[in-house]
Symmetry: C2
Subunit: 298 residues, 2 copies
């Protein structure tokens, strides 16, 4: 079954020694599901996944089924520059019964041909060797420097129709999202922002995987529910878009964690691994004073 | 003792099963030293380091002292997006007695503040906890998307004077190389191209760490030797620059490996890990026919 609806890329809290705080992570994930998330896109960019060792990533994935969250509600990020690392993480996710994996391209490399990215995916599929594997391509060219073009998606869908099943579009380029939605009906496309949900769901998007869902899962889940019932949800769309606009005025991951720290009173959320930095005092004051964020700070 | 002279970023050959071919790698490294290299900047970009798992990288590093190459002639790349990975590799190198480590910034992240990159280095220094650690910053903004600014270098030199000792400038921006050379006398600066060697050594550069040294170590080592003796080496500079210009008309790493495959007759060199791709037949024909490359193809 394809993923659909709201899959927040759950943020990763760090203890005072900067190790992942597993209990706080599990609690946050449980809260997101309670707030209406359909699943959890753990170990994405917002989760600081690339700042975590492979062992830390495995431990975070495993902590959720251990806490009673069904593995089929998990969509972990498993892309890596080294095919061997991507195979290791993706195989673990497939064996665990995860809904799928969110696959970054090998982001160190720039200017590489589509054929090289095709082989990256093909080698991962072969290396995992598990028919349960479901790949959602993770398109975030402003961070990765490379991405999944429509031509490449077309070829991957033709050759791996049961495995390559969807895409998260973090490009922020609505025209790209629209092109993919229109070109590949049935492909599970997730925009990375709830601000385009009304338009995207109307064009057949599967849902959204949005950083700001960490702080507004309830609002976004309600919007999706109303849109699915065919209701006019302009007011709900406006409300979630206002939160999104407000939070993206700040460095996004630090701001998400600052809101979580404020809301929970748990200092674990205020920590980020370098090179990301917590908001400074001036930014924090601005964030606390922003009327559009009042609803998510409490 | 600081690194100086020619430190080729040794390419990594792959066996038919795409695992690193350790014997072929050791043989290549021994050949580079025989040809006049002062040391080996293994596990750099040309080495496809980011396509290798941590275990593979450790095995490649360890293979060289095991074959009788002194560890103090090794400058392995150890930068990684996760501080934990960079600490693991850097600690291994320091304990082994390597001359230093070449440190990429955490390249997934973009638009991060210098303070975040400072903390990345500070956390690695603290995490390694070994006074033998010597860090050479690896500046390659066109791949990493982030880099080491003069302001940041200045701060790192002030706070870690015994540890942060040099920089490889792969920016291809001669003005940047010149600025760093002029601003930080005594800092061991390595341009990534032998085409600027005459000018760079005159300004106090330590040497060069150049991809094309994989195929022209002898020529570059001779140029450095003559420049160090104060000779007019315009002819030698012109000759190595001609090879450099010719090889950089092709995708660089695939072309380096194609030359090594031609020269050695060893098909292990023709393989690259995705997303990089071997030269196609047309490119190979062009490469073989290039008069400027004749001297390095034999």
């Amino acid at each position: 079954m394809l993923c659909s609806g709201l899959w927040p890329p759950a943020a990763t809290p760090f203890a005072a020694d900067m190790s992942p705080n597993i209990p706080a992570f599990v609690s946050h994930c449980q809260g997101l599901l309670r707030d209406g998330a359909d699943g959890l896109a753990v170990l994405g960019t917002t989760s600081e996944a690339n700042s975590l060792t492979l062992d830390e990533r495995i431990a975070l994935i495993d902590s959720l089924p251990a806490a009673g969250i069904a593995a089929d509600r998990l969509l972990p990020g498993t892309g890596a520059c080294a095919v061997g690392d991507a195979v290791y993480l993706s195989r673990h996710a497939a064996r665990l019964g995860c809904a799928g994996v969110l696959l970054l391209p090998p982001f160190f490399y720039k200017g590489v041909p589509d054929e090289g990215l095709y082989r990256y995916v093909a080698d991962i599929v072969a290396g995992v060797g598990d028919s349960r594997l479901r790949i959602y391509l993770y398109h975030i060219p402003q961070m990765a420097g490379i991405g999944w073009s429509p031509d490449l998606i077309s070829r991957l869908l033709a050759d791996f129709p049961d495995t390559v099943v969807g895409l998260k579009d973090s490009s922020g380029d609505w025209q790209n999202t629209r092109t993919i939605l229109e070109t590949f009906p049935g492909f599970a496309v997730f925009p990375a922002s709830e601000a385009v949900l009304t338009e995207a769901l109307a064009l057949g998007a599967a849902g959204c995987i949005s950083a700001s869902a960490n702080i507004n899962a309830n609002g976004i889940a309600n919007l999706i529910a109303r849109l699915r019932c065919g209701e006019d949800a302009a007011d709900a769309q406006k409300a979630v878009s206002a939160v999104r606009t407000a939070i993206t005025r700040f460095p996004l991951v630090p701001a998400i964690k600052a809101v979580l720290a404020e809301r929970t009173g748990d200092g674990n959320w205020a920590r980020l691994r370098p090179p990301m930095m917590a908001l400074d005092d001036g930014q924090l004051a601005d964030l606390r004073a922003d009327p559009a964020l009042r609803s998510v700070l409490q």
